[in-house]
């Protein structure tokens, strides 16, 4: 009696253990450069999946990777697509477990943080041709890979923000051409008052959002060495620029989307619906509108110029090689491949802008609006290259929002932001 009872339990226990054992996955091993004799598999993670639109992934998986593999027998590239919102979480966890892939398409804001923690290989040291490759790319993009004198990645694709306007809204303001200067915006502002159309809309107050205003207004975020924000971020020029936005916000000309209302109409819907007259946004918008608002004809033009000119912010992704990679040589071959015109143009066709200015004309043939973006990129600047970039964004948002809501002055907000950012920069 007792025996059979224990037998029943023993069966369950044994089944449990075999279940654990059954889950064992063979780990891949291998090293070296990858030859026909000893093939290697290079793993590559990114977020090319674009809200259910697989064009970018298809270009990579069906055209580019097969072409690379054909030219480099013995090397297989295994690309894994990860939802953008989850990529950082997956990268962090995998880094903690020492299970990163060989290559990552990383948001350019993440590179300094990963580099600071020793997760990445400095390409400027390991690739003898790094300088030649980097020289072909926009300097603003290359600089996002710099951490403590070494470069940890190469630009893969880029983007920036330009002014996008809705013709119908311009007509309501009684103008025909998009505003080219801050003064033009002011003129439009007076005319749009009371029409229900917002002058400008944006979805936040981080560095990506406010730095085009600050730079175009003639101000700066930090000193040139990026070691100090006080005296730069809270300058009189910047107070004036931000005050201009705050005044528009208070006049109802900028919707509360900017102060964090997640329920407000998004910029991609507000512009075609003539709720918003102007937005700053990237080249991906065109693809969104083709699907949702086929009849909408947006106008692309440079960021309105203030006393500092028309200066936008650099965005995009870099390709980085992880320190845990056991296939460095093969992975570097693929990195070189991403810098070829074949790769860059094929991806440009799917909406990923090339990082090489020399290909800008060829790219503009694909879609005319690309020219506005590539022209803007010539002067665009990158955000502060710091491992604390996400904290800097949080500081800007939390200090500036109360200024918009009228709970504090712009001067006080910027003073506070500057001193907090000083601390973050000193902590590097």
């Amino acid at each position: 009696m007792k025996r059979s009872s224990k037998l029943g339990l023993a069966v369950v226990t044994a089944a449990t253990i075999s279940l654990v054992a059954a889950g064992c996955a063979a780990s891949t091993t291998g090293s070296g450069t990858g030859t026909k004799a000893s093939p290697v598999t290079v793993t590559f993670w990114g977020s090319y999946g674009n809200g259910g639109n697989s064009t970018q992934q298809d270009a990579l998986n069906k055209t580019l990777i097969p072409a690379f593999e054909k030219a480099n027998p013995g090397i297989t590239i295994k690309y894994t697509d990860i939802a953008y919102d989850s990529l950082l979480q997956k990268l962090t966890t995998s880094a903690a477990g020492g299970q990163l892939p060989d290559l990552v398409r990383a948001d350019l804001g993440w590179v300094p943080q990963f580099a600071a923690n020793g997760v990445l290989v400095p390409l400027s040291g390991s690739m003898s041709d790094y300088k030649t490759l980097a020289a072909k790319d926009y300097a603003g993009n290359v600089s996002t890979n710099l951490y403590k004198g070494k470069y940890y990645g190469l630009p893969l694709d880029t983007n920036t923000r330009v002014l996008i306007t809705d013709q119908a809204a311009l007509a309501k303001a009684g103008v025909t051409a998009p505003p080219a200067t801050f003064a033009d915006l002011q003129t439009m502002a007076t005319k749009l008052k009371g029409t229900g159309v917002s002058l400008f809309a944006d979805s936040g107050l981080g560095a990506w959002n406010v730095s085009p205003w600050i730079w175009s207004g003639g101000g700066d975020l930090t000193n040139p060495d990026e070691t100090k924000a006080t005296g730069f971020l809270n300058s009189a020029t910047n107070v004036q620029t931000i005050q201009m936005l705050v005044d528009w916000y208070k006049a109802g000309l900028i919707p509360n989307l900017i102060t964090g209302n997640k329920g407000a109409t998004g910029t991609s819907d507000g512009l075609p619906k003539t709720k918003y007259a102007t937005i700053f946004d990237g080249p991906w918008m065109s693809g969104i509108w083709t699907g949702q608002y086929p009849k909408f004809q947006p106008t692309y033009s440079p960021i309105p110029a203030g006393s500092g000119g028309s200066i936008s912010v650099v965005g995009g992704e870099d390709i980085v090689l992880t320190a845990s990679s056991t296939h460095q040589a093969a992975a570097e071959k693929f990195i070189r491949f991403t810098q070829t015109s074949a790769f860059q143009i094929a991806m440009a066709k799917t909406g990923q802008m090339t990082v090489e200015p020399s290909l800008a004309d060829q790219q503009a043939q694909l879609a005319p609006y690309y020219k506005v973006y590539s022209d803007q990129l010539k002067t665009a600047k990158s955000r502060i290259a710091s491992p604390n970039q996400s904290k800097i964004d949080a500081v800007l948002t939390t200090t500036l929002t109360p200024a918009f809501l009228g709970k504090t002055t712009v001067q006080a907000a910027l003073d506070s932001a500057a001193s907090q950012i000083d601390a973050l920069l000193a902590g590097n």
């Binding site: 939802a83 953008y84 299970q99």
Partner: protein, 289 residues
């Protein structure tokens, strides 16, 4: 009240009032409308093309209606494979978890032993730890056990993650099974395993049905562990595929909702199959057992 089973109306004479019945149905219908309306909105959106999503006034009857979102979702590469993977993981996790936790629940409900209170508290503590915090240690553990990037690894963590809740749930039900039944069986010479398997399990069918429904649902929907542990798309589950429909710059809501509605079907089937045990419950379960 004719709708009620004859047995019920015999017992509860007062339940036969038409007014009470009317009220009861009125309450149920109002409640059901509140519960279902958001769901209908989702259903309607899944048949709309992107251009018509979030328009004013909202469209309840999609016009023009399109099945494009469904064909696009199903047409996604490997969608069927993800579906099958999810099914394998959810079925095995559920079976394993319900078996192991019913054993634990039986032990807690039927025996007095040293350390009982401590072990129970440990299980309860497991429920209070935020799952997000366990991600990194669990990832490292999975690496050391060679469980990364495999369905077996997901099953292992899904079973572990559902044990506390199921044990806690079933313990109460086992405890309310009359101890005299147990004693009678024991006198007849039945050992503890037989009493668990032949008596407790059949009598606790409603609780086991609830545990099955919940565990299946949780394993079917689980995202964070699958996200961190699965790299190879051959091992991906449905929630990973649905998450990929949300883009950095834009999300095609119709597509997300269509895929989610497809994903709801197996969970509803499991619910429909097991919910009848709530009615049959003790009476018929006991007769069969």
């Amino acid at each position: 009240m004719t709708a009620l089973a004859p047995r019920a109306s015999r017992r509860r004479r007062s339940a036969g009032w038409p007014a009470a019945t009317t009220l009861r149905y009125a309450a149920l219908i109002v409640g059901a409308i509140v519960m279902v309306t958001p769901f209908l909105y989702m259903l309607s959106t899944s048949f709309q093309s992107q251009a018509y999503v979030l328009t004013i006034p909202p469209q309840f009857i999609p016009n023009p209606a399109t099945t494009g979102n469904y064909t696009a979702a199903i047409g996604t590469e490997n969608f069927l494979l993800y579906f099958v993977n999810s099914l394998i993981v959810a079925v095995i996790s559920t079976a394993g978890s319900v078996l192991l936790s019913s054993m634990m629940a039986y032990s807690f409900a039927r025996f007095a032993f040293r350390g009982k209170e401590a072990i129970f508290r440990l299980l309860l503590a497991g429920l209070t730890i935020p799952a997000v915090m366990l991600l990194i240690p669990q990832f490292i553990l999975a690496r050391n056990l060679h469980l990364l990037d495999s369905l077996g690894g997901l099953i292992f963590f899904y079973i572990a993650g559902s044990l506390s809740l199921n044990t806690f749930l079933m313990r109460g039900f086992f405890a309310s099974i009359p101890g005299e039944l147990d004693q009678a069986m024991q006198v007849d010479g039945a050992n503890s395993w037989t009493r668990y398997w032949r008596l407790a399990i059949p009598l606790a069918k409603p609780a086991i049905a609830v545990a099955t429904i919940f565990t299946f649902l949780n394993s079917w929907d689980e995202y964070p562990i699958a996200l961190t542990m699965i790299n190879n798309s051959d091992n991906a589950t449905l929630p990973l595929a649905i998450a990929n429909f949300q883009g950095q710059h834009a999300t095609q809501w119709g597509l997300v909702f269509a895929a989610s509605l497809i994903a709801v079907i197996p969970v509803l089937i499991v619910f429909l199959v097991f919910q009848r045990y709530f009615v049959q419950g003790l009476t018929s379960g006991a007769v069969k057992g």
